[in-house]
């Protein structure tokens, strides 16, 4: 598979399905069936088994044609799809990937719990086998898009008698099943981007299990790694970025400038460029088939920079920074880190060092897995989950 073959396939798709007259969902289905959804996926599952670097070519050739709303399908695309691809049965792959890609079925993530944040493996949501079904009871939190979702990726405890990492199983949760209750969770920006999800006697068929019983922690690692890449993947050149936004304000509003802000802006500009280059180098490594450990650092870098830049922006705006666009409690369908006003951006950025692995946990990961430093002495390692203090 090479660039010429991709061009030919794109031409054929466009010839058969005129984007101007085809229904958007129909077009996306056709794009999936042509293998042009995610080229690096296998043939028949929306891809062509091609290398990752051909994806940008396809995206470029198909620019302007109907596309899915990136905020709405972010979790499906960024987290559920790679996990289903890696661990799903053939039947699961065929059933779930196509409507996930077209946006006909939205996905959410049922991982964090009130008692299991950084220590996700201590999670307490129980799944008990009952014939061909599992009965799920527990509470999940920080679930974006739960109210819009058809499916959720769920980790639950299936064996409390073994140490915590070993007693977890990964499921696909039917969000329309009886016993699933979704409540909005208001956050510091005023809106509710996330939800709490209460699971009470929810019955899931064993066919919705992803991976082996007790192997859920390993399956979840695939999801989490992809989540970090999705959040911290960096902004390719030319795409809108926080520093671009700041630089525009700076150039257009000379009356806001001061010497102190100037020095700090130059530092931020350099830091943004460093992040951009780090991301560019990472993408080159991925394309060459040598993913480096840099991936684990990108989200850390992004959180630091985004928080600093968004705080700078509020300060730069002075009197305007004293206002806020809207505190009303409402649901948002997606998240745009660069959306709304400076105050929103500042507050939303606070989540960047918490969601998808706190910066503290990511530093542990870098120190232990990249640098090979020893872990802290563990008191929970070989203790059955049921005996751990909670």
């Amino acid at each position: 598979m090479d660039a010429t073959a991709v061009r030919e396939r794109v031409s054929a798709l466009l010839a058969e399905h005129d984007p101007a007259t085809t229904d958007p969902t129909e077009f996306l289905r056709a794009r999936f069936d042509a293998g042009l959804a995610w080229l690096y996926f296998p043939v028949g599952l929306g891809g062509l088994g091609a290398s990752r670097d051909l994806q940008s070519l396809a995206d470029q050739l198909l620019r302007g044609t109907p596309d899915n709303d990136p905020g709405r399908i972010a979790i499906g695309l960024g987290m559920a799809a790679p996990t289903i691809l890696a661990f799903g049965t053939e039947e699961q792959k065929r059933r779930f990937l196509r409507p996930l890609y077209t946006g006909e079925e939205v996905w959410c993530q049922l991982f964090s719990e009130p008692g299991a944040g950084s220590d996700l493996a201590s999670l307490a949501t129980r799944a008990v086998r009952d014939g061909d079904e599992w009965v799920v009871d527990g509470q999940k939190v920080w679930t974006s898009g739960a109210h819009l979702s058809r499916w959720g990726i769920l980790v639950a405890r299936t064996d409390p008698d073994v140490p915590k990492h070993r007693g977890i199983t990964y499921f696909i949760c039917d969000m329309h099943a009886p016993g699933v209750e979704v409540r909005p969770l208001r956050q510091i920006t005023g809106e509710a981007e996330f939800n709490e999800v209460f699971l009470t006697g929810v019955r899931l068929s064993d066919e919705l299990r992803l991976g082996e019983i007790g192997d859920g922690w390993r399956v979840a690692q695939t999801t989490l790694m992809n989540e970090r890449v999705a959040i911290g993947g960096g902004t390719p050149r030319g795409r809108r970025s926080m520093i671009g936004l700041l630089a525009d304000t700076w150039r257009e509003r000379p009356e806001l400038r001061s010497h102190d802000l100037h020095q700090r802006l130059l530092k931020l500009w350099v830091d943004s460029e460093i992040m951009r280059l780090t991301g560019a180098r990472l993408r080159e490594q991925l394309a060459a088939g040598h993913p480096g450990p840099e991936g684990s650092g990108m989200k850390l870098l992004f959180a630091q920079l985004h928080q600093e830049a968004s705080g700078f922006e509020v300060e730069l705006l002075r009197d305007e920074g004293l206002g806020y666009d809207d505190w009303s409690f409402r649901r948002s369908d997606g998240v745009d880190f660069l959306g709304r006003g400076a105050g929103y951006r500042y507050l939303r950025a606070k989540g960047n060092s918490i969601e998808g692995g706190t910066s503290e946990i990511l530093r542990n990961i870098v120190a232990e897995r990249v640098l090979g430093l020893p872990s802290e002495p563990r008191v929970d390692k070989d203790v059955p989950w049921k005996d751990l203090p909670r």
Binding site: H259, H262, L266, V270, A280, E294, L301, P374, E376
Partner: protein
Amino acid sequence: MTLLYTEIEEQLRAAVRDLLTDKASPGAADDGELWKALARDIGVAGLLIPEELGGAGASAREAAVVLEELGRAVTPVPYLTSAVLATRALLGVPDAEDLLERLAAGEITAALAVPFGSSPYRSPLSTLGDGAQAVSIAGSAISGQIAAVAGADVADVLVVPVRTGLAIVAADDPGVTVTPVTSLDLTRPIATVEFASAAARFVAVEPGAVRDTLAFGAGLLASEQLGVAEWCLTSTVAYLRERTQFARPVGSFQALKHRLADLWLEIVGARAAARNAADQLAAGWSHSARVAVAVAQAHCGAVAVHAAEECVQLHGGIGMTWEHPAHLYLKRAKTDEIALGTPGDHREALVGLVDLPGPVRA
């Protein structure tokens, strides 16, 4: 164009690293043998010199890889000062071909006679001072004094920026005195260079050529700083895995792990920035090359210093001793931060390069 290392670059790195592992140890002075082996056997002296003059016709990308390795070992050889700065100043100068041939062969070394802290964004003539300190020309001789010149102590030829271009002076001319100065950096000392009616050969260069040379050197210095920082991180990690206190390896304490994770991340950024600068410089002199140099220097200078400071601190008492090599890296890193423009100089250059103007006067 790529931010990764090519196979040829990795081979060059391996050759340099093998030689340094074999023949160098941090802090040991070079009696000239090490430089000879590097310059002639591996051929690093002629990397940037065209093949028709006996060089390798390589680019800034390869030179950068050599600097990474020399930084990693704080090797006391005049690579940056002779094979990068002085060589680059003479490249493309028609009257300097004889010199370039001898430099490429490793027969001689040269030094660009400017203070090592010269910023590429100010005229080197103004940094040479004025009044009593300025270099003056009388006929075919020059007189004057230049302080804080790196690499002058081992140079056979001094390349001196003057108003008409460059003056080329033999270091053994009776009118030349090179006085080594007790230097912060023990592995790349500076010297005061004095000319008293020293015989000079004058060559013309393009206006701004010396500043471009300084910027070229600054862009490559980022790779040396990367090498310095990498050694500091690697040796600190190794030490923290071994050193036991409170019945645990101290590297298992989260407070230290987080500091090292942050340092690692800074170095990941330094590698991307240094590679980008080398790659842009290899492609020729352009606006994006200027930006790449400024960004790399604004970041890498501070990263090397941070890495060396963490290295000393996290080694505890042993890091404070003369016996442990950490101090050599700290001294090199702090000197490199000033060399060829401070991080602040390079950030300030971005004001014009990327249009981020300062406050307007009320």
